[in-house]
Subunit: 113 residues, 2 copies
């Protein structure tokens, strides 16, 4: 009965930020890392994850490298130069979003003007 807990539009930001921190990761690893960090509150579904990874690759933000580990295939993704820039941009967007939402929900805290 749980809500999705995941605001649409935040998935790419999450993926990129994790890749920035860890260098390279594969899809399943990303889902587990998010589950771990959020204590199970956020769950990245495969139906959202894989198309997102493919799109970011097509957009030139990610590079892929295939590996075979224990008989299973892993596709490691890492940020391209363009992806690094995009990550910075997305982080600014997230910070703006949070700041704006705080100003909306808490009208007592005024901005520094």
């Amino acid at each position: 009965m749980k809500k999705q807990q995941l605001y649409k539009g935040s998935l790419n930001t999450i993926i990129m930020k994790l890749l920035e921190q860890h260098g390279k990761m594969y899809g399943y690893e990303i889902t587990q890392k998010v589950k771990e960090i959020t204590q199970g509150e956020m769950n990245i579904t495969e139906g959202a994850l894989y198309p997102a990874l493919h799109k970011m690759e097509a957009d030139g933000f990610l590079d892929v490298e295939m590996d075979r580990v224990d008989g299973r295939i892993r596709k490691y993704y890492k940020l391209t130069e363009s992806g690094v820039k995009e990550t910075v941009s997305r982080m600014e967007e997230l910070e703006n979003f949070v700041r704006n939402m705080q100003n909306i929900v808490n009208p007592n805290l005024k901005l520094g003007y």
Copy 2:
């Protein structure tokens, strides 16, 4: 060339919170209030706003009251009892989202455990 600055899924939360604070508001007023609070960074488009208001009304979260002011029609919306509860729930969701995003983007800050 600006980005939308509005995470999908946050619109209903914004509307409900503003209604909670102001008692009753009409659509156009909501767009202006958001623009004012965010210094123009967030812009609620009518194409998103009106369907959202209609849906929340259909879901029983909002009540409507029509007014004619200066020859123009205004539809004032206010939260129902059910809408007040939903607002609380959505605020919790937003807080969880922000906390989870902070834990993801800033792995240095550990949770209190």
